[in-house]
Symmetry: C2
Subunit: 365 residues, 2 copies
DNA sequence: CGAATTGATGTAATCGATTACAAGTCAGCA
DNA sequence: TGCTGACTTGTAATCGATTACATCAATTCG
């Protein structure tokens, strides 16, 4: 190894090498590694010994060519990073490996074209596909390319006819946290939504509206401002909301990153949280609990999102292999309310100690 | 599609189907898709038309079986999440795809055994391998299994003889931030290190010691406490440090997650940052800039770490394919000092506005 | 004792591509 | 007209496995 890569490649042992060394046919070697039919104990042990000595392991490409099973799942993700991303990936990965499957990942897709080209080149490499659909036309776009490949969509933006899916209870989550604000006495509650046309954003806004309707809060378009899920857009949105008269007493922000911007805007203009205005977010990113005051938000279990997607996908893959019919399902993961300090308490006092009470340790890297 | 998966599988078109439909041989179809030799324009177009109509794309398994190239890179990662993880993955992914390569990811490895078994089953699936080595024995463990597969280690804990590597300038980074503290007037500086035996941790501690030595600060083992890179361990370590007499005037924490715990401990005991004690971290996680006060730390470019690893790996893969000899390299990525409020300023005043000055917007998901 | 059964193993087709080599067509030229 | 060479295209071997089927030896049983 010390001489770099100039040496002739010590080509990996194949099934033939093992067969020759062990004095048996390739069929027997194959049988030992697949224990389909019975091989005598002696022969099996001899083959296994030779295989170990030669560091032999069946070539995956050859194997999947003949069996047309790859034991690999494709994963298509939009360009994103941070905790949401890594949580989902972990859920996918852990679940896949627990079942002996690999993950062929292609993330960072800007648009549908890139996604389709990645998908196309996965042909023959995967048994199933998990797609986090970045935009509305994605499901339709991939349909032609998956043919007989099972697909599960994560948090589908563009509806999910024709595919299984796992998504987040956006409507219920928003409804829940806005109801929480109303229980605290707020009636004039603004919202900063995600980008128009984004289904998550729309569902969260609908949840917000419904909660207001039920609780008799102020329903008005001037209280709804669209951001784009980024911190700066939250900052800008809050600046606009502060010009309202009368000013809202609470803001439900469509995701935590925008809430970061909202808090910054408030800090800059000297508006106190939660005394002057209550702030609530969505997603429960790690930073949420370290803000001053810590952010009340809806927790989304990203790991579970990934895990369920793979669980479901493997179920479909197996059923398909056995020719068993299977119904399509659409799972919705609940979000849970995490109360911290940014919304105050019902007795009017800010709940500053929540930062500690609600602290959940995270792993380092 | 509406009837679920009960229908007979509409098997994907193969090269034979295209050949038959286009009235040519499979060799010609193959040539069109690989433009090795010249095919007449008419024939090529005809083939391409048929291929499009049949949604044909070469089967990757078959192709890589005969060419022994997979256009896929294996990625082995330890069990971790958060930004560090997703940053590295993005760097790997973007760079790989830019070069027409896929990523076969297997993360969340608890130990060397799991890692080796994942590695083994990648046989025949990958052209090269990126490994983030979780512990000291990993490089030795994988050596037997990679044979002629090129490998690049990311941030190798266990040294890197025999492999190319890309790592972080831990020593220099720690040296740099501790020197910053000394420039601010601190002489009695404690440190919370990562787990003993972890090379990152050791390098950072060495950088801390060297900076103290050069600047004439207090060098004492009582000022060094080992954590395990998690938030709770930082909390515990700070509690211990506060019992010291005289108390240190500054703490260099081995990573930001532990710094979170340190800050929490300080907040609980009423010790003010940076007035009573200065705190510095390492990694620059997103939360760092949202703390009160915002955390001074060393920024590590995780994306670049992944990107360089893949760049290097592809270089080796290409060189190997062409039989060109190539030297092993060990790249070290610099970390950069990010000054925020947690260390105060040289004139003694805390720099509370740094939170805003130093704000860098992040993408939402 | 010979036929039938059982168990272990080998032979060869197969998966879907790539590619060396062979072969065929056609134009140009003596 | 016949030969040469340039292009284009086809034939068939090959990659490394799996697996249906054949084969062969040993055992069982009427």
């Amino acid at each position: 190894m010390a001489d770099g890569f100039t040496a002739a490649e010590p080509t990996v042992a194949t099934i033939k090498d093992v067969a020759r060394e062990a004095g048996v046919s390739v069929a027997t070697v194959s049988r030992v590694f697949n224990d389909r039919t019975v091989v005598s104990a002696d022969t099996a042990q001899a083959v296994r010994d030779v295989a170990t000595r030669l560091n032999y392991w069946p070539n995956a490409a050859a194997r999947s060519l003949i069996t047309s099973r790859t034991h690999t799942l494709g994963v298509l993700l939009p360009d994103m990073h941070g905790e949401f991303f890594s949580g989902v990936i972990r859920g996918l990965d852990v679940t896949a490996r627990r079942n002996g499957f690999h993950l062929l990942v292609s993330s960072s897709h800007a648009g549908t074209d890139e996604l389709v080209s990645a998908l196309r080149s996965m042909r023959g490499r995967i048994d199933g596909l998990v797609v986090m659909a970045p935009n509305v036309e994605t499901p339709a776009a991939i349909r032609d390319w998956v043919a007989d490949t099972p697909v599960v969509l994560i948090d589908p933006r563009g509806g999910y006819e024709g595919f299984d899916s796992v998504s987040i209870a956006n409507f219920e989550g928003a409804h829940s946290i806005v109801s929480h604000l109303m229980a605290l006495g707020h009636r004039r509650i603004a919202t900063v939504t995600g980008p128009l046309g984004n289904v998550d954003a729309a569902q969260r806004r609908n949840g917000y509206r419904e909660a207001l309707r039920e609780g008799g809060g102020d329903l008005s378009l001037e209280l709804e401002i669209a951001g784009d899920f980024t911190e700066p857009s939250g900052h800008a949105a809050m600046a606009a909301l502060l010009k309202l008269d009368p000013r809202p007493t609470a803001v439900f922000v469509g995701n935590d990153h925008m809430a970061l911007g909202v808090m910054r805007s408030l800090a800059e203009t000297g508006v106190r949280v939660p005394e002057d205005i209550a702030v609530a977010g969505f997603d429960d990113i790690e930073t949420a609990r370290y803000l001053s005051p810590p952010l009340t938000t809806m927790r989304v279990d990203t790991f579970e999102l990934g895990a369920r997607a793979v669980d479901r996908l493997l179920l479909i893959v197996t059923a398909l292999a056995q020719g068993v019919p299977i119904e399509r399902t659409h799972q919705v993961l609940p979000a849970t309310l995490v109360v911290r300090g940014s919304c105050g308490t019902s007795n009017g006092k800010p709940a500053t100690l929540n930062a500690i009470r609600n602290h959940i340790p995270h792993h380092g890297r």
